[in-house]
Amino acid sequence: MAASKLGRWVPLLVFAGLAVLLAAGVWLSRNPNREALPSPLIGKPAPAFELPVLHEPGRLATLEELKGAPFVLNVWGSWCVSCRAEHPVLTKFAESKRVRVIGYNWKDEHADAVRWLEEFGNPFWMVLVDYEGRYAIDWGIYGAPETYLVDAGGIIRWKHVGPLTDAVVAGELLPALAKVEAAAEAQR
């Protein structure tokens, strides 16, 4: 008798379980940027590269020469609509001069890239050029815009996929940068 009384609750319990699962699914999908892949490179050394510099013909820049201070690497292209959207945010961040902001001009045309920067302003300390996309694969880049924070030792500390917003800068990039700076300070 007790068992069958308990049995009566089974369908309700099953339903409650399903409802909890559903609620969890809805809760987990609240992040509008949920399709962004977490980078396995966080906490790992940034991949070495040797890339031309947009405004200095003939010069090749390497990761080694950028080490010694943290930098932000922003992947963009003149064809990329969201890059245009994040440009004011990135410019405002770069103008704070707290850290070098380096452009990674990906899958673009030289003339288009130069024109884009002339039209909208150039927030970058330096613009690297990867039109073949060879080093982009090493960095795990799969679209634009993407933004990395690399510390003074050349370790990738943070990555954001998709356009930067004021909220992302204030809520993620600046705290990550503060941590990187604090760690560098402690080592000194």
Binding site: A3, G7, P38, S39, L41, R134, G140, I141
Partner: protein
Amino acid sequence: MNATVSRVLFALVLGLSFAPAPSHAQAGSDPAPLVFGDRAEERRFQALVSELRCVMCQNQSLADSDAQIAHDLRREILDLMHEGRSDTEIQQFLVARYGEFVLYRPRVESKTWLLWFGPLLLLLVGGYVVLRVVRLHAGRGPLPKLPPDGDDGQEW
């Protein structure tokens, strides 16, 4: 006979409508198609990329995707094959850069145990529940005899 023919026709039409899009749909957007050394290499390549997920358009395999990054990755994979890397090494190459996500078949490790063995667990739990229900009913013995006056079904 007639029914069989129409059934076969129906199956054909259905099959055709689900057939992959013709390959020329790709050609225009791929500036330089990949060149394979021989058929065996092409087969190995196709088998490899169909097991890899495109990172940009996340519901397509790397083989099917037309995204720019998918072109680049396919080229990179072919280059790695030419360098003599094994399939496992190539998968490892991509996982190191883009994460486990690129594998359609996640590797069996502690954090994927639930994924791999969850269905089995559910099956066991379901089987146990079914067993309990059957036992419960069996324990009650035979159904009570119907009253002799023969108004069976009336209470329904």
